[in-house]
């Protein structure tokens, strides 16, 4: 039995009221419920306020570079298939700087869980548009409104037939925790896009804005790809939460824990012999 307390309690640099707090709490809950001890968890993160999460959690962590959390997470899992590997970062880090890595991680399908704190704004750099900001969203950097369409990560992930695609909301922590648990239990690459208000820099997509729109679709069958595709497109007056798409698919094959792996010298000698 693992208690939430084992994951520690830390001072953070997050703003009071930030959605990150509830994501952290929900993650701890999900880890404890699964009985995963801190020593068996490895979290890779990038740069941004979301990426600081593993600093506020007792676990193994690699806090790397902006946009590169997914390649690091995949390298970790390839070297240690027994670890519970999570990748945590924000919308700018994952869908902007790391966009290509996001696409490749879906295709590769290594068994890990990606949690994206999606607040539709750049918080750490004080309020520019992010890849998920809506067209027309006015910021200091986009005074006439964001001139680009928003990236819909859930839709893209479903279109690419990622095996596990979910959306959650930090204002629904019990649901969020349950979705994280299911994502981690899923064998393969799983995405949880987490709506999360930035109380300091996003004056549009506030706690109230999300609360009024999110809903839990009844009778949605996540194994129905067509239905998932339609549902994933819904992001406006109504925003569906939960597992949007789930399917079994081939998981990237992994070997033994590489830290313990050693070559047999006779095997190496045979390799050299093949060059004579």
């Amino acid at each position: 039995m693992v208690s939430i307390e084992e994951y520690g309690d830390f001072d953070t640099s997050w703003c009071p009221g930030c959605g990150n707090f509830l994501i952290l709490k929900s993650l701890k809950q999900a880890l404890a419920v699964q009985g995963i001890a801190p020593r068996d968890v490895i979290i890779s993160s990038g740069i941004g306020q979301a990426a600081k999460l593993p600093h506020y959690l007792r676990c193994n962590m690699f806090n790397g570079l902006h946009g590169r959390a997914l390649p690091v997470a995949q390298g970790i899992k390839m070297a240690n298939p027994e670890a519970a590997v999570l990748c945590v970062s924000g919308d700018g880090c994952t869908y902007g700087e790391g966009g290509n890595h996001f696409l490749a991680a879906i295709r590769r399908n290594i068994d890990l869980t990606l949690l994206v704190h999606d607040n539709q704004i750049y918080g750490l750099t004080k309020g520019q548009a992010s890849p998920t900001s809506a067209r027309g969203h006015v910021t200091k950097a986009q005074p006439e409104g964001n001139r680009s369409d928003a990236f819909n990560p859930v839709s893209v992930a479903v279109a690419m037939k990622a095996g596990f695609v979910a959306r959650a909301f930090s204002g629904e922590p019990e649901h969020l925790s349950e979705v994280i648990r299911e994502a981690m239990a899923y064998k393969g690459f799983s995405l949880v896009d987490i709506l999360q208000p930035c109380v300091s820099f996003n004056k549009v997509n506030t706690y109230g804005w999300y609360s009024q729109r999110v809903y839990f679709p009844q009778n949605h069958d996540p194994s129905d790809w067509g239905a998932a595709m339609v549902l994933s497109e819904e992001f406006g007056d109504r925003i569906p939460l939960g597992i949007i798409y789930r399917a079994e698919k081939p998981v990237f094959g992994l070997g033994a824990r590489l830290a313990e792996h050693e070559y047999d010298k006779n095997d190496l000698k045979a390799v050299l012999q093949s060059y004579t």
């Binding site: 193994n60 690699f62 570079l65 690091v72 997470a73 390298g75 240690n80």
Partner: protein, 561 residues
């Protein structure tokens, strides 16, 4: 023309099978007990163009390539017209009958007569060339049996018959080429190129993870690792780009893998941010950078030594590193092995800087000595020392490196400035302590520097200073020099860090010092000047995309002296 070696050049279009002929002939040469040096020149295309596969064979060690040709096997008219001028007096031209060779006497092979189908033309050429350089038929037959072994007896039988016919046909001809080289150090030697040797050195060091994005001329390092290592447990992935490749390597290394990335200059430029990450997070990684001419896309299949500056300065901020530059497949093997030990010991990126010429250059080498290799440092799997601090401040700057997931102690790595326990910090004292701790590792790396090799007598009139595979051309230039000055060579296989006391006497006691480099700005001479204050005034520089040759060095010296 010295009788020490015979240079056989097979020239033709991509897709004509010259590499197949070349590799079979090369292997036969090594099995016959001769020394061998293969130089490949090819164009960035899959079909057509003009490629050459040059096999230099001899009874003595061959150091570098050469421009002059003893036997030219022209597979098409372009190969003939472009290279016939390089054929020495008494040399031989071998060609089919499908194009004109003008007044030049040539051994014209009637392919249609000797082979039932065009498919067998390579075997015909192998038989004819094997005979002209005096190889025993049995060696060629054994090779064909091995090569086509998996294709069944029918294919083997058909090829053997063609080979025998071609060999007999050539035996009946008086083609006026009778030069032979003496045997070398006998059979039992390995034949491999620089990239293969790097991959084998990595495997010998326990490398069990490679992430890469394909890029000529580096790809065959990863391809060899996958072919030979994956059946033994090596994990590998072709990343979506070089940024991913290097970051994937970071993750794997942090989690306990022995990690290699491989690329060329353009790809390495993209890896720069993660090189810096390796520095601050103290994550071991060996980077193989196989140079080709830049800037940007440059010349994808040609050679150059112009990425030294890039590798020395890659990554922002200050952190320790070491850079090796092998000259031969042996050095590729042993220096790559050493690179792993340094990377693991000092928990920092270590670089092996090769180039296309060495990458694709096959040699015969003594079988590598696996049993004699030193142990490579390993991370810790257990921690019993109280509170674990990933970045504990130590006297030598090396903190205990623990692999996550193997003990109760948590392992936390960070790209930010951090304290001993990996907490993000902007505290000025902690910053200074951590930065100093990392840089203290330079002292250990400095103690382990491999000094340059000196070839020649004391107080030479002229000292050639070179690094990497340019060594061969310099040694042969000295050997063939016919002037009245005494010449010597100083060769660096580790180009960073440098230890002055290992070489300053050589520089200061030589009459004149000449930098010989495969770049336009004498990058290594500038490194020496920066590290020691010693300015090398004279240079022989080649940056036309071709490997340095003894002819090029001698011509450059003539202009200087």
């Amino acid at each position: 023309m010295s009788g020490k070696s015979i240079n056989v050049v097979i020239g033709g279009a991509a897709g004509q099978g010259l590499v197949t002929i070349g590799q079979l002939l090369s292997k036969a040469v090594v099995r016959a007990g001769h020394h061998l040096l293969v130089t490949q020149r090819y164009m960035s295309r899959v079909r057509g163009g003009l490629n050459t596969y040059a096999i230099r064979m001899g009874g003595e060690d061959l150091s570098g390539g050469t421009e002059s040709i003893d036997i030219l096997a022209a597979l098409n008219a372009e190969a003939f017209s472009r290279h016939v001028g390089d054929v020495v007096d008494g040399g031989l031209v071998v060609a089919g009958t499908d194009f004109e060779t003008g007044e030049r006497e040539a051994l014209r092979i009637p392919f249609e007569e000797l082979a039932p189908k065009p498919l067998f033309h390579n075997t015909v050429m192998l038989g004819v060339l094997g005979r002209t350089i005096g190889l025993e038929r049995g060696i060629l037959e054994d090779l064909l049996r091995q090569t086509f072994g998996r294709k069944g007896e029918e294919v083997i039988g058909a090829n053997l018959e063609v080979l025998r016919n071609a060999y007999a046909w050539a035996s009946d001809r008086d083609y006026g080429f009778s030069r032979r080289v003496g045997p070398g150090s006998g059979p039992g030697r390995m034949m491999l190129n620089g990239n293969e040797a790097i991959a084998l050195g990595a495997l010998a060091a326990g490398c069990n993870f490679v992430s890469y994005y394909p890029m000529t001329p580096s790809s065959s390092v990863a391809m060899t690792l996958i072919a030979k290592g994956a059946p033994l447990g090596l994990q590998y992935e072709q990343a979506e780009d070089e940024l991913a490749a290097m970051n994937m390597a970071m993750g794997a290394s942090y989690a306990g893998a022995r990690t290699l990335v491989t690329t060329s200059g353009g790809g390495f430029a993209l890896m720069g941010e993660a090189v810096s990450l390796a520095g601050v997070s103290e994550t071991p990684v060996v980077c193989i950078v196989v140079q080709r001419p830049g800037p940007a896309t440059g010349m994808a299949t040609r050679t150059e030594q112009a990425d030294l500056d890039l590798v020395l300065h890659a990554g922002h901020g200050e952190f320790p590193r070491a850079v090796f530059a092998p000259a031969t497949p042996e050095e590729c093997f042993y220096l790559t092995h050493r690179a792993f030990d340094l990377a693991e010991t000092y928990q920092t990126p270590v670089f092996v800087l090769s180039e296309q010429y060495l990458a694709d250059s096959y040699r015969d080498v003594e079988p590598f000595d696996l049993d004699g290799l030193p142990e490579v440092a390993r991370p810790l799997l257990e921690w019993n020392g109280g509170e674990y601090k990933r970045y504990a401040e130590t006297e030598d700057g090396v903190s205990p490196r623990l692999v996550p997931g193997f003990s109760e102690a948590l392992v936390r790595a960070d790209s930010h400035e951090h304290d001993e326990s990996s907490r993000v910090t902007e505290d000025k004292a902690v910053r200074v302590n951590q930065n100093s701790k990392r840089l203290r590792k330079e002292s250990g790396l400095f103690e382990e520097v491999i000094g340059p090799d000196y070839y020649g007598g004391e107080n030479a009139d002229v000292l050639l200073v070179c690094w990497g595979p340019t060594l061969g051309a310099c040694l042969e230039a000295v050997d063939r020099y016919e002037g009245d000055k005494s010449l010597a060579v100083l060769h660096f296989k580790q180009v960073y860090p440098l230890r002055e006391e290992q070489f300053m006497d050589f520089l200061e006691s030589a009459g004149r010092v000449v930098a010989v480099e495969g770049n336009a700005t004498a990058q290594f001479a500038r490194v020496i000047a920066g590290e020691t204050g010693f300015v090398i005034p004279d240079r022989v520089l080649r940056f036309d995309g071709r490997a340095m040759t003894w002819e090029y060095v001698l011509k450059g010296l003539t202009d200087i002296l």
